[in-house]
Symmetry: C2
């Protein structure tokens, strides 16, 4: 039986463990810099920056999901699904679909126009799953970011 | 002379006018559903969902920029640059670069790991500008969203 519950402070070590698992699966482990301390500060104190859900199957932890509200200047407030992760041995039980139903319900309850997320282009199983839900894949936008030394140079008026 | 100032409630009609201009430039006008009322509620009341800047060149309004904080489960809090728009007649004056410096400074002041944004893949002038700033283009992620009837079906447990 699946149970989806809101993460609490005591779940922080578990949450970090699963973030690391998920990053390993995505071949992005070297990008994980969050810590138990930063997760506590950003998710469980003051005005939380994210909302985390723990997925339980019977007495076992089967995965997690994380969302935050975003804003579209054209369409208004929406829900960003930062992560949805189901541990390998719990796949094929309909957990992903149930979590997406929960995420969709949350968005509708909040009056958001929709839910956005991102998927790795080699993760065909995930892509097929999202297509089956009726999601739309955006083909004409590129994602861009700047960090580190390039960010500092930009803040100082551009590359010298 | 460029002046970058924080948008205030009295700027809402101007902000909406420029959002419509920008959406027209991006060939996305049919997606604009925000109103003066929703901009007020989401940007200027309670806990604002976005931060807007008005760009002025001498006594004229030259454009706007809009940001909001986002959260990466791997890297922590970052700044999302939702829009940067410089009106056509004000291009070539270094306004974009000055705004990106302001956005970068804002991110560093807040202790964010970086700035993210999106660019239309046919907007080569913008792409070249961002490359010149040292930005990284993400090639292995797809953007996905769900809205409307598909969202309602997902919230109810998936397509029937």
């Amino acid at each position: 039986m699946l149970r989806i519950r809101q993460a609490v402070v005591d779940d922080i070590p578990l949450l970090l463990e699963m973030i690391v698992e998920f990053a390993t699966f995505e071949k992005l482990l070297e990008h994980v810099t969050v810590t138990k301390e930063s997760l506590r500060r950003d998710g469980f104190e003051g005005q939380p920056r994210f909302h985390a859900m723990i997925l339980e199957w019977d007495d076992a932890v089967a995965g997690y999901a994380m969302t935050y509200p975003f804003y579209s200047s054209f369409a208004g407030p929406g829900l960003f699904l930062e992560d949805i992760y189901v541990r390998d041995v719990f796949r094929g039980k309909g957990i992903g679909k149930a979590v997406m139903a929960e995420v969709g319900s949350l968005a509708l309850r909040e009056g958001y126009w929709g839910v956005r997320w991102e998927v790795l282009n080699w993760n065909q199983r995930a892509i097929d799953f999202y297509l089956g839900l009726g999601a739309t894949f955006v083909e004409d936008w590129k994602l861009v970011f700047i960090e580190g030394e390039a960010l500092r140079k930009m803040a100082n008026g551009g590359p010298q």
